[in-house]
């Protein structure tokens, strides 16, 4: 009586960084395990949908404060993980949450000023070629 099974599209390998050797077993399972072991759905974990901060996979997240008791376990884990700067992609892998759910969580934390996000250097932010040439010529003139 159930509809035909969906054939899962395997995510391309560059999306998800390979887990580190000491990845805990909870994070190794992937979505299937997470679905089987946890009754909570993602919309409860990721909180209210709505405005998300402009976060990239490689945006670095640093904790600014210890976890207050009011945050959810995921956010507390995120704050503990982010004592050292971690990228959103890594956090997503550790907490076994999809990227969009991570951005929603991190947005809440940014709003509460519990973490700080450092934007990655994207291509557009690089100095343009004329600037680099000008620097080069200026250095040569010294």
């Amino acid at each position: 009586m159930t509809p035909p099974q969906r054939k899962r599209r395997r995510p391309r390998p560059e999306h998800v960084p390979p887990p580190l050797p000491s990845t805990p077993p909870a994070a190794e399972g992937g979505g299937e395990e997470g679905d089987k072991k946890n009754p909570e759905r993602l919309y409860v974990i990721s909180g209210a949908d709505g405005a998300r901060a402009e976060l990239d996979l490689v945006t670095l997240i640093v904790a600014r404060a210890a976890a207050p008791p009011s945050v959810t376990p995921e956010q507390a884990a995120l704050l503990r993980l982010c004592l050292a700067p971690l990228s959103v992609a890594e956090l997503s892998a550790y907490l076994d949450l999809p990227f969009s759910a991570m951005t929603a969580l991190i947005t809440e934390l940014i709003t509460a000023e519990l973490v700080q996000a450092r934007a990655p250097i994207v291509r557009q932010a690089l100095p343009d070629r004329s600037l680099l040439e000008a620097v080069m010529h200026g250095l040569q003139k010294l």
């Binding site: 969906r6 599209r9 376990p73 993980l81 997503s92 940014i110 932010a125």
Partner: protein, 540 residues
């Protein structure tokens, strides 16, 4: 009535006596008349007197005979009446026993699972008092049992069909939830698609809860099985994820216990129904507060809303509803009862030995207390996202991660869901606005300086330049072509000058002798390693 008991002989005797007196009197009168009248009339008078006496005698005899018949008929009637009264009493007694003993026994046996035929046999042949019961009684009981049995079968099959339909819906919902989770991970990088998927996921969970409710009302299990223990926090969030307004639920202090895998689903479902009631019957702007504490008999989950005040009457009604639900007798009142959730909770409590009670809340609404018995809890660790990840998921510093800055922890609370305007997520990107005279880009600090001050500073610099002592800010005003053309030297030539200077006061081997004849230095390579290398050898 009295005549029945009076001795018949005395009455008969007195009757004879009463009838004998007129006969004797008649005979005496006749004899006197015969003696008194003259000769010719004597015969006629004698004959008449004799006839009259005979008639009186005959009348008396007839009267006695009839009286006897009447008496017999009356006695017969009394006997008959007594018999009938006895029959009536017996029949009353039988009907009484039928209603008070036989019917309940038969129904009890039927409910216990015996077939109607078997029940009739047991009732009428095993019980010695009923062995000679009339056929009509047997037929009555048989018909009643048949009807009851048929009704039971119909209800059973109806419930079974409900449950089986609910099972199919549950199966579809589970598969859909599973696939939605996969899709959420596959499309997790696209926020629009992700949010849409979350909406569908939420709707699917609502359908799943309805299917579970139908299944529970039909006497089935609430839903899927969980293979592993689940933390209570996850269980309550699982309950949250099955109701419409999960955003209004606030989990406050949830004790850290784990629920057994087999008991996870009933707790989730009962909590979800209570949470749904709480959000449904309270104003949309209020929050529903959930706490869970460990008590002697298990875990006590309290759900408080700020809805309508629960007075004694309403509380009695709801408690009565719960009681009925616990006994499984509320299938008739379900149709007019909007709070189907309480029936489901009552049934779950009966099946799984939980306990639920409703009290008035301190917030003005209802406080539902769900007690999960301790045999549903376990001490096994619960693998999950909510707990444990923070303890084990931190990358070790030896993996190459840099130690983070040791900042003192700050206490801050979330204020509003919007990102304040003051928070910037941009790094400082160098903005080039000015160029030095040498052609190098110059970077101005972002410090805002008022234009008047800047003009004043520029004027001061100009004045200093005119006076002949240039400041560090003054720019070279000499036109470049006026300068003598600097000596064009190849970029690497200073190295040679450096070496020349080094050679000047340094007798011995030429510093670059190694590159000039490298074969002289081969012994340095071929020699065995020094003591420093020995330390590393130990590692192997």
């Amino acid at each position: 009535m009295v005549s029945v008991q009076s001795p018949p002989d005395g009455r008969e005797l007195s009757l004879a006596r009463v009838l004998l007196l007129p006969a004797i009197l008649m005979a005496a009168v006749t004899a006197a008349a015969v003696v008194l009248v003259a000769g010719p009339a004597r015969t006629a008078v004698g004959v008449c007197g004799t006839v009259g006496t005979l008639l009186v005698l005959a009348t008396a005899a007839e009267a006695v005979r009839r009286g006897r018949g009447l008496r017999d008929a009356r006695a017969e009637h009394a006997r008959h009446r007594a018999y009938l009264e006895q029959r009536l009493a017996t029949s009353d007694e039988e009907i009484d026993r039928l209603g008070q003993e036989v019917f309940p026994t038969a129904l009890y046996r039927l409910k216990a699972g015996e077939s109607p035929k078997e029940v009739v046999r047991q009732v009428f042949e095993v019980d010695p008092r009923m062995r000679h019961a009339p056929e009509s009684q047997r037929r009555l009981i048989r018909i009643m049992l048949d009807i009851v049995d048929e009704e039971d079968l119909q209800r059973d099959s109806l419930e079974r069909s409900f449950v089986s339909i609910a099972r199919r819906v549950q199966a579809i919902v589970h598969q859909q939830a599973h696939e939605l989770r996969e899709m959420e991970e596959d499309h997790g990088r696209n926020p629009e698609v992700f949010d849409d998927l979350l909406r569908i996921d939420h709707g699917t969970a609502l359908i799943g809860r309805l299917a579970d409710s139908v299944s529970v009302l039909g006497g089935g299990r609430p839903g899927r099985q969980w293979p592993n223990p689940v933390a209570l926090y996850s269980v309550l969030r699982g309950a949250m994820s099955r109701i419409l307004e999960y955003r209004r639920i606030e989990l406050h202090s949830i004790c850290q216990v784990n629920i057994k895998g087999t008991s996870v689903e009933p707790v989730i479902h009962a909590a979800a129904e209570l949470l749904d009631n709480a959000t449904r019957y309270s104003p949309p702007s209020t929050k529903v507060h959930v706490t869970a504490v460990e008590v002697q008999s298990g875990v006590c989950i309290e759900i408080e809303d700020a809805g309508v005040i629960l007075n004694e009457e309403a509380r009695d009604r709801l408690e009565g509803l719960l009681e009925k639900a616990k006994q499984g007798k509320d299938i008739q009142v379900l149709s007019e009862n909007p709070r189907v959730g309480l029936s489901v909770v009552g049934r779950l409590c009966r099946t799984y030995n939980m306990d639920v009670s409703l009290r008035a809340s301190a917030y003005g609404g209802v406080r539902a207390v769900l007690i999960v018995p301790s045999d549903m809890m376990t001490t096994d660790p619960a693998p999950g996202i909510a707990h444990g990840i923070g303890a084990t998921g931190i990358p070790k510093p030896e993996l190459g991660a840099l130690e983070g800055p040791k900042r003192p922890p700050k206490k801050r609370r979330p204020t509003s869901p919007r990102i304040p305007a003051g928070i910037s997520m941009e790094d400082d990107v160098p903005e080039v606005t000015e160029w030095t005279a040498g052609g190098l880009p110059q970077r101005r600090s972002r410090m805002k300086t008022p234009l008047s001050r800047r003009l004043a500073e520029q004027a001061a610099i100009d004045r200093a330049e005119r006076e002949g002592n240039p400041t560090i800010w003054s720019q070279h005003k000499e036109p470049e072509p006026a300068q003598p053309e600097p000596e064009r030297r190849e970029p690497g030539l200073w190295v040679e000058a450096f070496w020349e200077g080094l050679k000047k006061n340094n007798p011995g081997v030429h510093p670059t002798d190694f590159t000039r004849n490298p074969t002289k230095y081969l012994h340095l390579i071929n020699d065995p390693a020094g003591t420093e290398a020995d330390d590393e050898g130990d590692l192997k």
